[in-house]
């Protein structure tokens, strides 16, 4: 006889676990299992073009460290994410501060600005592909008409310009998101602190550096970290604009893993790359949270 599960007899913890069960099952199937399996795969030389694979230990990792492409990709990823997030943070913070001065129509501005974040990634990629076009793109045209440049910029055909193009696209897309978060954070700062600092004679710049920023430090840290993570994960925007080119100039980890795994079918190498990427991101996050977020982490 199967004893009937009497829910009333479960204590609170067990009840909670019961409720969590569906979510946990899904998460463990689709996040935990692939992670472990990937780790295992990274120690083999699995290649879908070959019938069998064998365990080769850390050879994939060694090959990666020694290949020039790996360091170039690392370089690309770091540069692109750093400058994108920097741009987003500066512009986003400036806008949030402006919007926080209590002007009318703040909600309308916020809503309009978020529209460009709502545009789907592929549509945005196609759009900017057209805008950055060297011959008939609107960007080059505007720059020339306003006299900023004389010859057209080869946006997508030169490595350095391609990087800048991707950074511009990320800044365009991500700034509204950060602005909204900063605005919400600014609105949680209690007025007393600002007022008392005014009474103490602090000018606006001083107030910003010594009062505003420390109070919302935690949010700044989380928002920027989220943005870095999202850029690391971003595939479709870079893939549709430059496909990682030219000359691997805009290839980030994400794109390279995809190429290794689904173009070259080098599963072993691809997973090894993925593991190094994850480790790097974890380490960076831990240090970043400690250093920028301040000692009292309210992470949960």
């Amino acid at each position: 006889m199967i004893a009937k599960l009497n829910v009333r007899q479960l204590n609170n913890t067990q009840f909670a676990l019961l409720l969590l069960l569906p979510a946990l099952i899904i998460i463990s199937m689709i996040i935990v299992f692939p992670l472990i399996y990937s780790l295992g795969l990274s120690f083999t030389n699995k290649n879908l073009l070959r019938p069998s694979s064998k365990f080769i230990g850390l050879k994939n990792y060694k090959k990666l460290m020694h290949s020039e492409t790996y360091w170039q990709i690392l370089n690309n990823t770091v540069i692109i994410s750093f400058f994108s997030v920097l741009g987003q943070t500066i512009v986003g913070m400036a806008l949030a501060l402006l919007l926080n001065t209590g002007i009318k129509g703040m909600k309308i501005f916020r809503g309009l600005a978020l529209t460009c974040w709502a545009v789907p990634a592929l549509a945005a990629g196609i759009l900017w592909l057209l805008i950055f076009n060297a011959e008939y793109g609107i960007l080059n045209h505007l720059l020339r008409v306003t006299g900023i440049i004389k010859d057209f910029i080869p946006w997508l055909t030169r490595e350095i310009w391609a990087k800048i193009a991707i950074i511009i696209t990320f800044i365009w897309r991500g700034t509204p998101f950060i602005m909204v978060m900063f605005l919400a954070a600014l609105q949680t700062i209690p007025k007393d602190i600002i007022d008392s600092s005014k009474i103490d004679g602090a000018g606006p710049v001083r107030r910003f550096i010594h009062v505003t920023i420390p109070t919302i430090r935690h949010i700044i840290m989380i928002a920027t970290l989220l943005q870095v993570i999202m850029i690391f994960q971003n595939f479709i925007i870079i893939h549709s604009i430059t496909v990682g080119g030219p000359a691997n100039g805009t290839k980030t980890f994400c794109i390279y893993v995809y190429e290794l795994a689904f173009d070259a079918w080098k599963i072993g190498r691809a997973t090894a790359l993925g593991v190094t990427w994850l480790l790097m991101l974890l380490l960076f996050s831990i240090f970043y949270m400690r250093y920028v977020g301040g000692k009292e982490q309210k992470i949960y």
Partner: protein, 300 residues
């Protein structure tokens, strides 16, 4: 007496001037703020306008130099052509909607239970679980795709809606739980406690008291899940190979992005078709979208 009057008059004049001066300064500051914000909006919304403008042009006019800001020969034929001739886009729409709604149903369903459990029954591992949920945002999705792909190929789940739905759920579930938990935290426990004292079973409390209240939270999490699924490219692209099973982004990419040089207008029309449902959702549910974003990130 006279001196007092004069002093008083002088005082009045100076304070009045001070008020006038600061009022003047305030007006200048406000105007500058408005100007800056409007400039930003123009810069940020211009690409969206460009997308619409290009979609309305005829194919041959897109590459005209200097580019026309507003088409001299507007043509809405592109839209008609897309929806009546190239019927494939209806399939893409259908697939995206099927996948999207299923993902929403699963995420909100399992996520509500999980969010409730994490909110009401903090047990020893719950903090760790929350951290894990945050960390799972960091996991390189491309890398997780690799073992999933291998398994699905062997089981024969490639080219099924189920595979795509499953993977989309895996990337949206953690954040949905986060949003829902944050939302549950804001619902006071008193009613549940009262019901408990009155002898209501725990499931009964869930069903009768809590669930009717979680409308806004469910909408926020559901919209987030739908947006993510609609946008998602890489899982859908790898897990489906037949054109008739592809979702909108992957299908559009294959059908259009190869041949864009001569058909920019058609490409933009397709991109617009892809974008407009999202914009509609965004316009109507803006409050929830922003709330979902903030609730998840600010609280944690």
């Amino acid at each position: 007496m006279a001196t007092l009057r004069i002093t008083k008059r002088l005082e009045k004049r100076f304070t009045f001037e001070k008020i006038r001066e600061s009022r003047w300064r305030k007006t200048v500051a406000t105007t500058l703020t408005y100007i800056t914000i409007i400039c930003y909006l123009v810069v940020v919304l211009f690409p969206v306008f460009w997308m619409v403008s290009t979609g309305v042009k005829m194919n041959k006019n897109v590459a005209k130099m200097p580019p026309e800001f507003w088409p001299t020969e507007p043509s809405f034929l592109g839209f008609k052509y897309l929806f009546t001739q190239e019927k494939i886009i209806w399939t893409f729409f259908k697939n995206s909607f099927i996948v999207g709604f299923s993902v929403v149903a699963i995420c909100v369903g399992a996520g509500s239970f999980a969010g409730y459990a994490l909110s009401r029954f903090p047990f020893r591992g719950s903090r760790g679980l929350m951290l894990f949920i945050l960390a799972s945002q960091m996991f390189p999705t491309v890398v997780m795709l690799i073992p999933i792909y291998l398994v699905f190929v062997n089981i024969g789940l490639i080219d099924t809606h189920f595979a795509v739905i499953l993977m989309h759920t895996s990337i949206t579930m953690p954040f949905c739980i986060w949003i829902l938990k944050g939302f549950f935290d804001t619902i006071p426990v008193d009613m549940e406690e009262a019901a408990h004292i009155d002898g209501c079973s725990r499931f009964g409390i869930l069903w009768r008291i809590v669930f009717p209240l979680i409308g806004p939270g469910v909408v926020a999490a559901g919209i987030y899940a739908f947006l993510l699924s609609w946008n998602e490219y890489i899982f859908a692209s790898v897990l489906t190979s037949e054109l008739k099973m592809r979702t909108l982004p992957t299908g559009l990419y294959i059908t259009y992005l190869g041949q864009y040089e001569h058909r920019w207008s058609d490409v933009m029309v397709a991109a617009l078709a892809f974008t407009i449902p999202i914009i509609i959702i965004y316009v109507f549910f803006q409050k929830y979208v922003v709330g979902g974003l903030l609730g998840g990130a600010i609280k944690g």
